[in-house]
Amino acid sequence: MPLLPPLTVAVPLACAAFVAAFGSLIPRRAVTLTAIAAAVATTALQFAQLLQSLPRDLNHWFGGWTPQHHFALGILFTVDPIDGILACVAGVLVVASLTFSWWGLREVSHLYYALMLAFLGGMAGFAISADLFDIFVFFELMSVTGYGLCSFRQTSSSVMQGALNFAIINSIGAFFILMGIALVYGRTGALNLAQIGAALRGQHPDALVVVSFVFILVGFLTKAGAVPFHFWMSDAYAVAAAPVGALYAGIMSDLGYHAIARIYADGFAGSLGAVEPAVRDMLVGVGVATVVVGAVMCFIQADLKRQIAFLVICHGGIFLCGIGLLNPAGMAGSTLYVAADAMIKAAVFLTMGYIIVSLGTSDEFALRGRGRRRRHALAGVVFGLAGLGFAVVPGSGPWLSASLIQQAAVAAGFAWLPPVLAAGTAVTAAAVLRSGARIFLGWGADHDPLISSAQPDEPQEGEPQEEEGISIVSLAPAGVLLVAGFGMGFAPHLAGWATAAGRQFLDLPGYIHEVLGGQYPPPLRPGPAFHPGAGSWAYGAATAAGALALAAASLRWSASGLGQVVARLLGPPLRGVRAVHSGRVGDMATWMTVGAVALCAAGAIGFR
């Protein structure tokens, strides 16, 4: 049996226990180094595991309980290249965040490091678990560490409000998942995904199958921040400290989408595979709604962290569309997009941490022109390049993966989808480019009627405020992440591998044979290297041009007469969208209920 999968969880968790036990007795620097070393070791194990999983899946049965009489008695970890990539991303981001913390969080308790390592362990297990209840356990581990990490440096009531909303809404999501698991267990008498898939195979999707799938979907969509389950997210991200926010934005949310893909492909597809077009419509529908709401809300935020929070929501919608297309290219594109985008999102979040510590606020208007000093030039470069990366500029990692999704959409008969996704991408990128230009170049006005400003007297929550400032070296992790995110665009073979892996990921009968019968498919061979065609170049160029044009227009229009007209036209609907995001937990829970009912109804009509 492969040894690496359990180690990628055991190492960070054991180190978290060690840090918690002895962290108060040893110097803080030593604690930080221990944590970084543990995260680096975990990441190395994850890369080794990814390489090992390329030819064929790694299956580790805990306790040695391999299936008896074709029945799974124990818990299974399955690593295929798709999961492997996501696990690696989690590891890399934790290393980057902890490295940033060396400079950025000098006064933090050792508990922070214990929680970060437990968070890593949670994400590592969540990405590769193949047992429905075990996925829930790691979901909870990830969430519980997240609630704790969200709320340190409690300087104001809004931090507590954001953390409370996060904890409450995610807990409700967890109960939905649990109810779905109970329903499925009652029907199939199994918890292993392949076993569930085998038991559901050929069953007509009845009320139980549909509702249990939707309940599980609701829980993971809540974690992932899909509309209308996303309301908690901007609050939690707005109050999280930069290194923690980098992890939330970079990978935690997107792991929720991955869990949906896995639970559908390895389990529910047994029954719902018969109505695949309806499932596709549902997932893509939620994805498109998420892209639209996320893009609009992103553009009208002046607070950098809230901007990125809605950017994460919008891009999450794109990933959901890629997964929801249910074909290999969509799966591959979505996974690579998550990886490349994660690097860039985390880079931006860490750079924001640097800006906030240096300049004391994260409000775009308050910061106007204050980044023009020479020592902030590097931060400006990172910010600008990240904006171009978000705009899928040709040659970048996001561009390659967006091209795959574009191809997948056309193949699935969703030719209208790529323009929608491109528009969402362009709007979010424009927001980042606009605020970057305002902060580091001093362009544009210091107010804009369309864009909501953070309260001027509000101090920066959740951020360390160190009087001696912060070393420029702290930007190094962000720079490395940015290079990695862009570099993924120069590996066309990666796309070929990922597409082949995506095909295997979606092959339920093959997976059932492999898990319950021990018969592995022939070793995975990479598909042909993916060379983006003229369409992809046009897609990337158009999106990037659109983003730059929109950013420029946004910086200019508040001064012009045309801007007044635009503001008057768009003002009322935007105020409406904004008012819906009331930040009240009762409203959020109501939206969740409405969303769950809508999905149940859609499933009841579409899947039967």
């Binding site: 580790h60 519980v144 509702v211």
Partner: protein, 273 residues
Amino acid sequence: MTPTATPMSRPAGAPASSGRAPARPGGRRLRVGVFAGAAGALGGFLLWALAGLPSFGDYHGTYGRLLNQVGVAQRHASNVVGAIVFDYRGFDTLGEEFILFSSVMGVAFILRGNLKIKDQAPLDPTTNDAMRVVGVLATPVVVLLGLWLAAYGYVTPGGGFQGGVAVAAAGALLWVSTTYRDYNRLTPARLFDAIEGFGAASYVIVGLVGLALDGAFLANFLPLGTSGSLASAGSIGLLNWAAALEVAAANLLLYREFFQEYIQTFPGVEKED
């Protein structure tokens, strides 16, 4: 504390300074109305799905039936639930231990302040000597009860979790019945941090030993013994005690944090901010 001013001075409930979100007077009623409609539909869908389950009492799921058949023979643990918790699905329990562990870290992270309560003199609300005597005498009984619950987890109902919480309860009982002033001395946070970390880590280490010796994480590596006795069930015993240790320390630390908050409501105690 950060050098910047915090907005605590804002009166409770006052709208945010920019006034961007004026309180909608009808907002709450609208919310409840929308929720009532949606919740009715949600309950309907849920009942519709639940109707697809085998009717109450007629369940024959494979997983549970199989484990009931083979559990005792394979694991020599007469309590099959114990065998599932610590072996067949022992990895879930590892996750569960770390959920508890992380929540204690999280609560401490949120609440742990710099205030030294022991330097102050909170008044003890328990002034009745008889009550104190009863409390002190009951403590060892509760500890024994907890240890007994933990020890026989794989033979009879109970186990590391239940026993651990009971042992922690004894600690809380001791604080309440003696004196709040001494709680710091009775449960030094550092010692209990170490015990908690040790318990959590030893669960992982038992798993790693299984990986090293038998090639599977959490694989059994001890002789199985006779089922129904304490010397049975192999490594389940070790995992059980690791869990008990972790749970007891974690709960004590949890109570300790909340006690500290409670003490601040006493007269004569300076509050931390």
